[in-house]
Symmetry: C2
Subunit: 549 residues, 2 copies
């Protein structure tokens, strides 16, 4: 089992040091510290385990260090920034593991850009030596790349010439769409094993600043201080400690405080239940900060994040996630309004942004997602995003027979309109009704109103509504049918249907770039016995099927 | 060898009938008329050969029938519109052939949409029975889908449930991005083998109009007449006949009137030379129409189109296309100005739009494209697009030693700014300088001026400039290096770098959708011995590796 939970005391590959307004994240990969003993992580090359620590640090910096306005990524090795993803790992990993590895590392780099764009925490890369492949792609995810000017250090994307695969952690996309490197120059750069250094790297826009070796460390500190000085983060408050999640993992069940997962291995489904809060929101943001990691929306978001990652990587055979929410809808709505109303407070802003990232992680999770709205559920505001993120959603008409009680209800709020954009830059509501402004307006007209199943159907917010007599049979059919389909067909279909409308750098990374990378990973020229990934380092040249497809 | 040249007299699968302002394209696939005898084209299912005829008809309608304002796609079979791509063909085709088949059929459908959007020739689909898979995707490419309401006829995308592959001819993308079908409904529809018919098909936006069986034929004719009446195409002029191309094909050489290809099979390159016009442009558009298919820009565009398709499908081992242009630059510029200046004339509009399609075909051709600008070349205006479409371009400084004469020059004109958008909706100039408005302005400041190599380098219009001493060695290195790389790595890299900036429905089809389809095609769950494509029709259920990647 791969565990995504860690903390700085357990890091083996990164060191996190905070100095006033500036944090330093120093990479010193432990060569024998890989997730699998079959490869050695030389030259600051990385595997998923190294990136789990980075993702943890990026997250902690936002919550635990409200004072930090700039983060420097640097290396503890001499003349070597980072050699990228470990090739021995890529050569031996299964296809699903390669895909999951790329997806997670992409999310981590996008989380750095999210911190920079929305949270006043800017990133700098202090490239003290070679930054190759994923090492340069890590630098590409920062706001400012400083390259040591020592006639040696180069940035490079040697994937195509050396390995026959793509710089797939956003590299190709960020070259043209973030750094605006001219496409023919990007072509030359991406086919140049040894990369580009010095003035040419600066002139082509591959780095932002060249720094003489003698002044490197001082200039990095100075530049970071300048970035930090322009941050809007509060300097004078205490952060919220991200204490370890409470979690029990049994063979077919994972239990957190506000979330449980039950696995049905025969049906290949995970039943995921999120729970609403136990009481009303705190009176003000300071009281929320006092609750710390126990503040309901913060705890649940972290639990949901961990649950998604666990299912993705450790439960490959689970094809469908059935999502339910149990609890008091009014209490959820009170928390939702509290979050949105006070989002100018640094902590609540972070909680809203965290929910945004967790939901976007769901959007690129290659499992069918079906949301079930039943009596006793609490899909409102932020939790209603789970309906909008689903491939399909079903709602019970009326109440369970014989049980009486109130029927299922759901509530769309302003936060569904404003707070949680998906990868295409739009809200999930706009995405759902893309190109259909009338239906969008109809759905928005229900904001704040508790909708029963018929009303939710009329507003286009759910897929189907069934009454108690049909519910079990209909859902069984849906689940069985889904399980009978090709998992790859479903993955490809969902990856297309989930992203109507405009595309952004992010959707290009997860759509165009990742899809091509997955194709390349699947091709014998990369992953076959004689392919480039398998032959790398053997001294034997790969043998290619030269037909262009 | 697969030949992309045909004409209505040779059609085996389509019948083209023109009745005043309305044309009827009737599909009646000859079951034994497949390109390969190994499969039977039952139920109006198609292979590449069927689509070559469709593409030819779509093209001819624009040039040969200026009077036609609406085109009806209908079927000659009873109660069956089209069953989509032939499954036997897909099951046995090599991976490169599947990819090329999908690419070409996508281009044909986009050519229909291009006719509708830019040329006043609207398309209607008269769906007289089932439209399944690619059959419905063909309808999706029209402006108006009319479904017979006979309680039987359904539209469907059964690829995922039946075959484990995607509706990859734009189907998934057009559902959400063209027809604005809600994504959860698109999910249901795309997993429903039997499809959707009647009122629900209309309500979900899958079709535009339901027509009772008794009134079907009449209503189709009436609706087509209404569309035609709104067209801006001239009703009173004679079209230009697209006479057969003059072409000689030898083992390592293809020769047309204004274009030659020489193949170097050892280096795996094609040397493609386009030739400029023999004289000045005609005095006016009517004179151009008098030249008919011999009008230089029309003939060259058709030859280039055929050459690209030939290389794509018949010369899989050719990895790099070296593009040169020979001729009088001033005569090219005179034609370029004539085309742009008179583009309100129906024929010149068609020629400009044809160039747009041919160049866009080049943009999605999975071969490395390198343009060489040498003395005696004529890259100006429309031909300069061949520089902007290239992955790299090289220009000679000065003239060949010992030969004297004038140095190579190139000229950007207003047509590079206005006339030939690529798939992302931008000009290739804007695409090249995406996110770098200063460089774009610098390049535009040269419009109309003949640039030598140093000036072209300074304006960012070429990749590198070499003098006579270095030219041969440098180019040999480039070509040899390219040939040493993984063909798949290059294909993936080029598919990303060629499309900086915004995405459109078209780039989503060629990027996101096609890349996922190619991935799925490569997966054992589709194409393996026990995969869905291979097992279809055998009575044995496919066996899936159930791990989600």
């Amino acid at each position: 089992m791969i565990d995504f939970q860690t903390n700085p005391e357990r890091y083996r590959h990164w060191r996190l040091k905070v100095d006033g307004r500036v944090a330093f994240l120093e990479l010193g990969v432990e060569p024998r510290g890989g997730l699998d003993p079959g490869y050695e992580l030389k030259l600051n090359s990385y595997d998923l385990g190294v990136d789990i620590e980075l993702a943890d640090a990026v997250q902690r910096l936002r919550f635990e260090h409200p004072e930090v306005g700039a983060v420097v990524i640097r290396s503890s090795l001499d003349r070597m920034f980072c050699a990228g993803a470990n090739i021995g790992m890529l050569a031996t990993a299964t296809h699903p593991l390669k895909v999951n590895f790329c997806k997670f590392t992409n999310e981590t780099r996008l989380a750095m850009e999210d911190a920079s764009a929305n949270s006043g925490q800017r990133y700098l890369a202090a490239v003290n030596g070679n930054a190759a492949g994923g090492g340069y792609e890590l630098a590409l995810a920062t706001d400012h790349i400083m390259l040591i000017n020592d006639r040696r250090a180069a940035v490079s994307l040697p994937e195509v010439p050396l390995l026959g695969v793509l710089p797939g952690t956003g590299g190709l996309t960020r070259l043209t769409d973030k750094r605006h490197v001219r496409r023919d120059r990007a072509d030359i750069f991406s086919t140049l094993e040894e990369g580009i250094k010095g003035d040419k790297a600066r002139e082509w826009g591959l780095v932002d600043e060249l720094v003489p070796a003698s002044a490197f460390d001082d200039t990095v500190v100075q530049r970071a201080a300048e970035f930090a000085a322009r941050s809007d983060r509060p300097g004078d408050v205490t952060g919220v400690s991200l204490t370890p999640l409470r979690r029990t993992i049994e063979p077919d069940r994972v239990e957190y405080t506000f979330l449980t997962i039950d696995l049905d291995r025969e049906e290949r489904t995970a039943s995921l239940v999120v729970k609403g809060p136990d009481g009303p929101p705190p009176p003000d943001p300071e009281a929320a900060a006092g609750l710390g990691a126990d503040f309901w929306p913060l705890r649940l978001a972290r639990e949901l994040d961990d649950a998604i990652l666990h299912l993705r990587v450790n439960e490959l055979d689970i094809g469908t996630i059935l999502v339910r929410a149990e609890g008091d809808l009014d209490l959820v709505l009170a928390h939702d309004a509290f979050l949105l109303g006070k989002a100018d407070h640094w902590l609540l802003r972070e909680v809203v942004l965290l929910w945004g990232r967790v939901l976007r992680r769901l959007d690129v999770t290659s499992r069918s997602i079906i949301t079930l709205v039943e009596p006793g559920s609490c899909f409102g505001g932020v939790l209603a995003e789970l309906i909008l993120a689903a491939d399909r959603s079903y709602m019970l008409i009326g109440s369970w027979s014989g049980e009486g009680g109130s029927a299922a209800g759901l509530v769309i709020t302003d936060s569904n309109r404003l707070a949680y954009p998906t990868w295409n830059g739009l809200s999930r509501l706009e995405t759902r009704f893309w190109g259909d402004p009338g239906s969008l307006a109809g759905a928005l007209a229900t904001v704040g109103r508790r909708l029963d199943a018929e009303e939710a159907m009329a507003a286009g917010l759910i897929t189907e509504a069934y009454d108690d007599l049909d519910w079990d049979d209909e859902l069984r059919l849906v689940v069985e049918e889904r399980a009978s389909f090709s998992p790859d067909g479903l993955t490809g279909m969902e990856a297309n249907l989930r992203f109507p409308g405009p595309e952004t750098m992010e959707t290009k990374i997860f759509g165009r770039l990742s899809a091509w990378q997955n194709w390349v990973f699947q091709r014998p020229n990369a992953s076959g016995e004689q392919g480039a990934l398998r032959r790398y380092g053997s001294g034997i040249r790969p043998e290619y099927d030269t037909r262009r497809a």
